[in-house]
Every structure is written in C-alpha cells, then in structure tokens.
C-alpha cells in the first residue's frame, strides 16, 4: 500500500546563543492509509519536533533538513498558500492543551464552521449545520447549545472533543494527535481514547498518536515507534513490540510502567541515569550510559536502525532476542 505520509531522513535542530542543538536526527517513517502509529519517547526525545517540522510550525531559530511527503507532495518545500490548503483540512493536528489551542474569543460554532468556510468555501449557515453535526459525532452533549458557547465554558474533556471534531471537519487523510490526553484526568482520558478509536472506524483517517505513555499508545496503535535522543531506536507491530521488546531502552521503559495487578512492590522499578543533555558526547549509542547490556562497541560505534526479529526494526548492537 502507498503510504499517505512519509518522512525521509528528517533532521531538526535549533540554534540557541550561537550553538546548534540537534533535536531530531535523520528520522524516517511511513504512515499507511487508515493506519495508526504510536510515537513513544520521553520529553526531549524529539517526538513532537518531527511533526512540528513536518507541518511547518517551527520557529525561525530552527533548521529542518530532509523530505516529508504527504499524498505525494513534498510539503516542506510547498509555498505557504499551497501548504495552507492542506493544513487544517487534509492534514490536521490535535495538541495537548485544548485550552490554548482553541481561540478564547470565538464561539465553538464559529471555530468549527470556519474550517469549512476557509477550506471548502461553504456559506456560514451551511458550515454551522455541519459544525453541529460534527459535535454530535464527537459525542458532545447538547451540541446546539455548545455552538454558541466559548471555550472557557467547556471542561477540558469537552474542549478536547471539540478539537478532535475540528480536526475532522474536512475528512482528513491524516490526523496527528500530540499527547491528546496528557492534560486530562484518567477517566476523561479513557473517554477521549474511546472517541479516537471510534473516529478511526467511522472516518477512516490515518492517525499518528504521540505520547510519553506507553499504555495510552498500546490501546490504539497498529505500530509503535520508540524514540530516544532524537532517533528512532525501535519500531514494530504494537503487540510484538510490547510483548517482545528488542531494544534495551524499550524493555527498560516497559518495566518502569507500574502495574496494577500482581504483588505490591517495596520499590518501583527504575531506569538509572537520565536522558542525554545537549552537549553530551555524541559518540556511540546515546542510550549506552544507561543501558544494562552496553559493551565497549556501544560506546564507540553508533548502531543503525536495522531489521531485527519478527520484522521489527531495532537500532542496537546487542538486541534482546527471544
């Protein structure tokens, strides 16, 4: 199947006080039609920057290199008017904080309708009807009343439903959800994940789910990509990766998720050390200082992403084998 979205050797770096800080290093990935991929990594691993760069949303102090193809077009090199026709209609994004991503002084109805007025040149009255229908689809109670409300009158969960609805107004080919439930309570998080799952069935869009929480991604993704220090260190089918992690980082990260069954522990499992900081040594594998399997070779030579077992890709000299 032809990928709807593909990233080829994307690098992102930021310039700060004359020094260059690399955030994403030669990352390549594909998203196929209707597929859901999960991107997992800790803060600073570069997971968000990949997609901020791809959408052309980074600030002037950034440098982006590589290619991003969406429906056959190289969107990094599109002139802004052409890019704007794709962004918000065919390629949409949902952010972590639904309060700051909605405009505070416009009603919910106006913000949803605007998408159709801008992208599909619908009349405001037509667009408003579509907006109400969308609120129904994303299970917002009393949709008619909500149209005339402002973002601050809605709870965090409802605002995120509105954001999801907005991202779906034009029937997008791909939705990028960046930590969509991180700011929400555990019960609301479960509802939003259920909604995303239902929307995948009903709308049939491809979905990129970015999260620091493996458990959140586990419930929805077909494939999972694990990032560490700006690189993909493991990618594979979700169940395979969760059950048989081959990269030591993935395995250690999975161990760190406290479980809700089994005996109560006296101490929580930990991953010693901390992720590399800008300015740390760039030689060898970035995870080597924290890795229980690291050998001399790991500190000298950086492992490239290569085919491991069960069609999983892994960037490790000594992957865990079954």
């Amino acid at each position: 199947m032809i990928p709807v979205f593909s990233i080829d050797e994307l690098s992102v770096s930021f310039t700060q006080r004359r020094s260059t800080i690399p955030a994403v290093r030669k990352v390549s990935l594909d998203v196929k039609e209707r597929e859901c991929i999960g991107i997992v990594g800790e803060s600073g691993s570069g997971k968000t920057q990949i997609f901020m760069a791809a959408m052309g949303l980074l600030d002037g102090n950034s440098a982006v290199d590589g290619r991003v193809r969406f429906q056959g077009e190289d969107i990094l090199r599109l002139p802004p008017p052409k890019l704007n026709r794709i962004r918000g209609s065919q390629l949409t994004m949902i952010f972590q904080d639904p309060m700051t991503s909605l405009t505070p002084h416009l009603t919910i109805g106006a913000q949803l309708a605007e998408v159709l007025v801008c992208h599909e040149h619908k009349s405001w009255s037509e667009a408003r009807i579509a907006a109400r229908r969308m609120l129904e689809r994303v299970r917002v109670p009393e949709p008619k009343r909500r149209l005339d409300q402002f973002p601050h009158e809605l709870s965090g969960g409802l605002r995120q439903r509105v954001m999801i609805g907005m991202s779906l107004m034009c029937g997008p080919a791909l939705v990028i959800a960046d930590e969509p439930t991180t700011a929400l309570d555990v019960t609301v998080q479960a509802q939003i994940m259920d909604l995303l799952r239902a929307m995948r069935e009903e709308v049939g869009m491809a979905l990129v789910l970015i999260s620091h929480d493996l458990a959140v991604v586990a419930g929805l993704a077909d494939r999972i990509l694990v990032m560490y220090a700006g690189r993909i260190v493991e990618s594979g089918a979700a169940l395979e990766l969760l059950q048989h992690a081959q990269h030591p980082y993935t395995a250690e990260l999975l161990k760190c998720v406290p479980n809700v069954s089994g005996p109560r522990l006296q101490r929580l499992p930990t991953l010693p050390g901390q992720p590399p900081q800008p300015g740390d040594s760039e030689e060898g594998c970035a995870f080597a200082p924290r890795c229980p399997r690291a050998a001399a070779r790991c500190r000298a030579e950086r492992p490239e992403l290569h085919e491991g077992q069960s069609r999983t890709q892994v960037a490790c000299h000594y992957p865990i084998s079954q």
Partner: protein, 270 residues
C-alpha cells in the same frame, strides 16, 4: 463519613500522629472539602486519589493551614493545628513539610540550590553556624542523589527530576515527621518517576516519616501506599488497604477510576 480502615502492615503503631476530624473547606460558598476524617500513623503512607477538582490539594493545604478551613480539627500529636496560635503553629512547622507538583515553580529562581536547602535550617536551627549548615546541606544533597558541588548552581540549570530531588532535600533536611507529597511525580518522565518515588520511600523508611501521597496515577499510588483514600467532589468515598482497594473496590467511583487506567496488556481493538 467513613471510619479509617485498619492497617495491616505498618510496624509499631500506637496513637496516630495526625487525626483529621470533619475537616471542611469552602471557597465563596462552594464546598471544596466536605467533612473529611482520617488518621495517619508514623511510618505510614496514606495514598489520596481522585480527579482534578475533587479537593485533594485543598485538603492537603488545609491540614497545613495554607488555606483556611471552615470547620473541623487537625490534631497533630494531640494539638489542634487549626486552633493553635501563630507561635505554636510555627514551632510545629518544622515537622510538617510539603512537596509540590511543579518542582521548578516551587523553588526560588534567585536562590542557589544550596541556599534553598539551607533556608529551613537558618529558620529553625539559628544556632547552627555556616560550616555546620554547609555540611548538612552537602550531606542532604548526597542523600537525594545529587553531587554536593551542585549547591552553587541555580534551579533553572537542573532538569525536572533533579529539581524534584532538590525540593525533597529542602523538605527533608529538618527531619519532618509528616511529609505531604502533592503529585510529586506527575510532571516527570516514566523513567525518572520510579527514581523519585524510591527516594521518597527510602527517606521515609530511614526516618519513620508519615506520608500523605497525593496522585492521580493510581498505579504509582498502589505500590507506595499502605492505605488509599478515594476522594470525589470533596468527600472521601472509600478508604481501604492498597491490596483491598484494587482487589475489591466497593464505591462505584473507585471502580470507574480503576477501570479507566490504561493498561499495557489491554488488547487493542481493531
């Protein structure tokens, strides 16, 4: 109101250190904490869970008199913290410490880390000289896993996990008998979470500190707590031992909370 459940695995308990009785807090007529009663024993970790807005943090602050309680009593080793005068309260403060969610925001950006950790000593042990203070600060930094040479640096030079270690050092330097942890690991990465929780547990076991551990992360609370209280709309709706709460949740709200925990083992639906 629910009677505190018996404790199974806390060693050597006599009388509770902290006895909270029918504590209520209102903001502009709205009831944020409703008649909350519970006991906390030396060496015990009591978990407090509930959704945002359920009143967890307000309850914690009311216990320490950081917000004003409308009614009720907070008996600390027999003395009512809500009724005592300012001088008595200040004397008790050294035994009552709190750690907040945002580690960077809870440190003074203009104070070096060493100064921040030494500040409680300056206030409560004024007779201690500068060398003595420095020795205690260095020892504390080491105990929370930081390099003692870091004491001259400022909070913005540290990562979130390191800042939380500094917050813990500042809270623990006086050897408090009660430590309230308000979402201490919620803003940290999974790989760092465990380190911070284990540090808290180690310090607690060394000193026999009583701990009120507030979190919306039920999986973390399950492991650290002897007992867990579930809070909903300002009221405690269930109290049980950690094992019992997860094995047999009674209140519908507790069940809803437990059912919503995302799990690695959950088979995806497609």
């Amino acid at each position: 109101m629910i009677d505190p459940a018996p404790i199974s695995d806390v060693p050597g308990i006599d009388a509770p250190l902290l006895r909270v009785r029918e504590l209520g807090v209102s903001f502009a007529g709205h009831c944020a904490v409703r008649d909350v009663s519970f006991d906390l024993y030396a060496g015990e970790t009591l978990g407090l869970v509930g959704e945002s807005g359920s009143g967890k943090s307000t309850l914690a602050r009311a216990i320490l008199r950081l917000v004003k309680a409308a009614h009720g009593s907070v008996l600390w080793r027999g003395e009512d913290l809500l009724a005592c005068d300012a001088a008595t309260l200040r004397a008790h403060r050294r035994d009552l410490q709190i750690i907040f969610q945002d580690p960077l925001a809870s440190l003074n950006p203009r104070m070096s880390v060493g100064e921040a950790i030494a500040e409680p000593l300056r206030i409560f042990e004024p007779d201690l000289d500068a060398d003595g203070r420095e020795a205690r600060v260095k020892d504390m930094l080491k105990r929370v896993g930081l390099n003692s040479a870091m004491s001259r640096r400022y909070p913005h030079e540290f990562s979130g996990g390191q800042c939380q270690r500094i917050g813990i050092a500042r809270a623990m330097i006086l050897g408090p008998k009660l430590l309230i942890c308000d979402e201490p690991v919620s803003s940290l990465d999974v790989s760092i979470q465990g380190q911070i929780v284990n540090l808290l547990l180690d310090l607690q076991r060394e000193a026999g500190t009583a701990m009120l551990f507030i979190s919306h992360n039920l999986a973390v609370v399950r492991h650290v707590s002897h007992r867990i209280m579930v809070m909903c709309s300002g009221s405690i709706v269930e109290v049980a031992s950690s094992e019992a709460l997860f094995a047999e949740p009674v209140h519908p709200y507790t069940r809803a909370l437990l059912a919503a925990i995302p799990m690695l083992s959950a088979s995806p639906i497609w």
